[in-house]
């Protein structure tokens, strides 16, 4: 990927992270219950975090 193309993609990823780790999206998952035994909020945060890192790796290494 061209170096110039990387910048907007990274900015978009950051903005995606800001939205997903913020009110009100965060509040949607601030509920009881579990996913595979893990409380929903914890599972959500770690899953989104991992996804974000994977996307960053994808953009950085291309």
């Amino acid at each position: 990927m061209n170096e110039k193309d990387k910048a907007p993609r990274f900015v978009a990823l950051c903005m995606l992270g800001v939205v997903l780790f913020n009110f009100p999206v965060l509040a949607l998952f601030n509920v009881g219950g579990t996913v595979f035994g893990v409380p929903v909020l914890y599972a959500y945060i770690f899953a989104v975090w991992a996804l974000l890192i994977a996307l960053m790796a994808l953009v950085a290494e291309r």
């Binding site: 990274f10 992270g17 509040a27 601030n30 009881g32 035994g37 409380p39 914890y42 975090w49 790796a57």
Partner: protein, 911 residues
């Protein structure tokens, strides 16, 4: 077995390993084969971000409010997503200007202002002290708890221990010695400490492994995995509430958001992060991997925080054990001595890593941006005249390291007991966040001025001191607590924790809102009114437009004045040492194709700039400026002149972009032309060969014709029999000539697409019969036996009957030519391949070498009889035949092995 001496021995053994690693890496660096020059070590060294605070404090925070510790790591992840835009720029600027610290960066950006550099240093030192004290607290607490094994007893209030018995003091002194050994072995113009970086990367591994070990032990050893652990915790109402922690908490989301923002700033502007990310960076490209590897590290070290916190809360329900110590006390209470010791070492590695890098970074700032500028201005010291100042520089740094660690210890004694680990760390985060507006503004906004930066920083720092530092001291009893409860002089509006009546927020959020307001307001507001100086204008351009300017020489364009080479050299020698100065001048001379001390050097703007940048690496931009100014007579440039140069520069950039484009286009065109030329040359060569071949073929029959006509002309007495024989020869040779000429013309017609094709439905059986009959005389003459195998009935094809006959005759005459003389045998076969008819003409001649089989169909190519090397015919027949066959949608090829004859075959699709 975990008595004091054993633990101390283990700690020393660990530090010994660290030192060995650092020593080895330094040796390798000196030998020019660095071990740290790869993105993985770089990424691991960034993990110096995870300190004792992460190691012990995250669990403590998680035990009180669930996910409250996560923004500290999610924030950096979000910030790092922007690193491609922000950090790459800072890296480029820093490399071009030899920036060696955050203070240097800010001072350099705002007109190389020594005042600004000094203020940044003071803010950084005061702001970071709590953070350093946190590490001391963590190490000494973990030591005191561990040596109580097998009892799990919280240590007595640490501050009350006598100074000599206080492990925190010894830790501080030990770390000071260690840091001095690591960080100030010699003076490096680029401030690279490769040994330290290698050791830090190793420490990052150790603390991660130790933490994961505890996490796995708690989750899978004490409980049956995540599900079991969380299910048991959910049974306790108090713990269940922590699983939806954002609900109903006052300012829950606000606190989350501000912590995220704070951490985004911290990952950029903590002095130790700036040190490892920017100053120690060896290659800008390492950023590519670090951008995702470092977040992966943060994710990994956080996975087990919640399980450990819940495990601890379930294990110590009565609350006698500080949650900050769960990582250590859980293995202890389960009698896991080895694991407990590993945790202690992990915590030690987290703390030492932070302290070493932080104090090196701070000592560089203190030396270059605080002490040196003052010393250089004190004329009574006459430092300008001293021949070698490297010893002084190292001395200042060593002193600064000891001083900073002792100050950290002092803060620990003064205020350390009042707060949990995380809160202490956040106070430091809030302090360094004050650098964000001037740095980020500085690299994207040319309008930011020195006065604006000064105002913003001072205002932000003042608010920070008032809302965070002051309460910390008051709570520890060093200031009257009434200050917090009633406000100074009883003015409620000025209460440090509820400034101007803003309440209901946690302390950090409250402080961040007010300090950022003051900081950004001051920076932007004053920048907009203040007029920048020439120097500021120049530096602003160099920083903001760093990607548009080429190389380090960028700064030289703005300089006018006179200097002398010996003076510049002795200046450099004073701060870097004579050897390093010689090396620097040699490098400069080489880059200009000259030899230092042999060829004369011009003391021009570029050399002056080069010396200043080199000097900046050792003593900071602001001091370097002062020193260079002392030896050169500089002519002031007006702001208009600088503007003109900048305008010219941007015009040049535009031009050079255009030029680049043009030259790229030209290159492409040249490449095309070259390729076309190659094709033409090849064609020319083929044409040459063709002409040569054709002339040869024309001359041979012409020779006979001419010879015999001349004979007949000059020897009229030749008898009738001979005469008619000669005339017969002449006729035959004439026919041969005609045939050749026809072939050449035929080929040119086919190739130019002017040939006439008359298509009709053909029966190939009939056509083959006609062709063989036509050639029967030739075969008989040469005593060749011909077999024809055709099926009773074949599908019709559509083609030009004359052309296909031509193909057949060509193949048959070739076969006749190459047949074994005297015992010639030619077999013609017709088969239906399904979809196409296939004709084969097989001879029993010498065969065709495999290497020639590919080329015999090429135009003008002739492959001679393998036995004689003599070509037969013009070399056009097969080429024309193949063109004809392909015109009708078929293909033509040859199968042959040397010595076993050749089989020419072609297909024609069903009509």
């Amino acid at each position: 077995m975990l008595q004091g001496p054993v633990v101390i021995l283990a700690a020393f053994a660990y530090l010994g390993v660290l030192f060995a690693i650092a020593y080895y890496a330094d040796q390798r660096a000196d030998a020019g084969r660095p071990v740290i020059a790869n993105p993985y070590v770089y990424s691991l060294s960034l993990a110096v971000y995870a300190t004792a605070w992460t190691f012990y404090g995250s669990v403590g925070r998680a035990a009180s409010d669930g996910i409250g510790f996560l923004p500290i790591y999610i924030g950096p992840t979000l910030m790092i997503a922007l690193w491609w835009v922000v950090m790459r720029k800072i890296l480029r600027i820093s490399k071009q200007n030899r920036i060696t610290s955050l203070a240097d960066f800010i001072a350099s950006r705002y007109g190389k202002s020594a005042l600004l550099g000094g203020i940044v240093t003071v803010i950084a030192v005061i702001g970071i002290l709590p953070y350093i004290s946190l590490q001391l607290k963590a190490v000494s607490a973990s030591y005191l708890i561990l040596v109580q094994y097998p009892e799990v007893v919280m240590p007595p209030v640490l501050g009350e221990a006598s100074v000599r018995q206080d492990p925190a003091l010894w830790v501080a002194l030990l770390l000071a010695a260690f840091t001095i050994a690591f960080g100030t072995r010699h003076l490096d113009a680029a401030e690279h400490h490769q040994g330290m970086v290698a050791a830090i990367a190793f420490e990052s591994l150790v603390k991660l492994l130790a933490f994961l070990a505890v996490g796995i032990f708690v989750t899978f050893g004490l409980y049956n995995g995540f599900g079991d652990l969380f299910a048991r915790a959910a049974a306790v109402p108090k713990l269940k509430a922590m699983m939806t922690p954002l609900e109903g908490v006052a300012g829950g989301y606000a606190s989350w958001v501000w912590l995220t923002i704070l951490s985004m700033m911290a990952i950029m502007f903590l002095p130790r992060q700036f040190q490892v990310t920017v100053v120690e960076n060896l290659d800008e490209r390492h950023l590519n991997k670090a951008i995702w590897l470092f977040p992966v590290y943060m994710l990994a070290i956080n996975v087990f925080v919640l399980p450990i916190a819940f495990g601890g809360l379930l294990h110590f329900p009565e609350g006698g054990v500080d949650a900050d110590t769960f990582v250590l006390t859980l293995p202890m209470v389960e009698k896991q001595e080895g694991l407990a010791l590993l945790v202690f070492i992990g915590g030690l590695s987290a703390a030492t890593g932070m302290v070493i890098v932080e104090t090196i970074a701070l000592s560089t700032m203190v030396c270059n941006d605080l002490v040196m500028p003052v010393l250089l201005r004190m004329r009574s010291l006459a430092l300008n005249e001293k021949p070698d100042l490297t010893g002084l520089l190292l001395g200042i740094r060593r002193g600064a390291i000891v001083l900073i660690l002792l100050l950290g210890y002092l803060y620990f004694k003064l205020a350390g007991e009042a707060y949990a680990l995380v809160s202490i760390g956040l106070i430091s985060f809030a302090a360094v966040a004050q650098f964000a507006p001037v740095v980020l503004g500085g690299i994207f906004w040319k309008g930011g001025t020195r006065k604006g930066a000064l105002c913003g920083l001072l205002a932000g720092f003042a608010v920070w001191s008032y809302t965070l530092l002051l309460p910390a001291l008051a709570r520890s009893g060093w200031l009257p607590i009434g200050l917090l409860e009633q406000g100074p002089f009883g003015i409620a509006l000025l209460k440090p924790l509820a400034l101007f009546g803003l309440s209901g927020l946690d302390q950090i959020t409250h402080a961040m809102i007010w300090s950022m307001l003051a900081n950004i307001g001051g920076y932007v507001g004053v920048s907009l009114v203040a007029t920048p100086s020439v120097e500021e204008h120049r530096q602003a351009s160099l920083f903001v437009d760093v990607f548009r300017q080429g190389g380090e020489a960028g700064g030289a364009r703005f300089w006018r004045g006179t200097a002398s080479v010996p003076e510049l050299h002795s200046l450099l020698a004073r701060f870097l040492g004579a050897a390093a100065a010689d090396e620097a001048f040699e490098e400069y001379a080489r880059s200009r194709g000259r030899r230092w001390r042999r060829d004369p050097l011009d003391a021009d703007a570029e050399l002056v700039h080069y010396v200043e940048v080199k000097l900046a690496g050792a003593i900071g931009a602001a001091s370097a400026r002062v020193m260079v100014a002392s030896v050169v007579k500089e002519e002031a440039m007006t702001i208009d002149e600088v503007r003109t140069i900048l305008d010219e520069a941007s015009q040049v950039v535009v031009y050079s972009h255009r030029l680049e484009q043009k030259s790229r286009e030209l290159e492409a065109a040249t490449a095309e032309l070259r390729a076309a030329n190659e094709r033409l040359k090849e064609l020319d060569r083929l044409k040459d060969d063709f002409v040569s071949t054709v002339t040869h073929e024309l001359r041979t029959p012409l020779t006979s014709i001419r010879a015999f006509t001349q004979i007949l002309l000059e020897h009229p007495q030749v008898d009738a029999e001979q005469r008619s024989k000669f005339l017969g020869i002449i006729t035959k040779e004439t026919e041969r000539l005609t045939r050749l000429i026809n072939q050449v013309l035929d080929l040119s017609k086919i190739e130019s697409g002017k040939a006439e094709w008359r298509e009709s439905v053909l029966d190939l059986r009939e056509l083959i019969g006609d062709a063989v009959t036509g050639m029967s005389q030739v075969f008989e003459e040469r005593n060749i036996k011909v077999d024809v195998e055709v099926p009773a009935k074949v599908a019709p094809v559509r083609a030009d009957v004359d052309r296909i006959i031509q193909v057949m005759l060509n193949l048959l005459s070739n076969a006749a030519k190459f047949c074994e003389p005297g015992r010639g045998r030619v077999r013609v076969a017709l088969r239906d391949d399904g979809g196409a008819l296939r004709v084969e003409v097989r001879d029993n001649g010498p065969g065709i070498d495999p290497s020639d089989q590919g080329v015999i169909f090429d135009k003008f190519r002739q492959v001679g009889d393998t036995l004689t090397g003599k070509p037969h015919g013009s070399g056009l027949g097969l080429h024309i035949s193949r063109q004809i066959v392909e015109h009708f949608g078929g293909r033509m090829w040859v199968e042959s092995r040397v010595g076993e004859g050749a089989c020419f075959a072609f297909t024609l699709p069903h009509g």
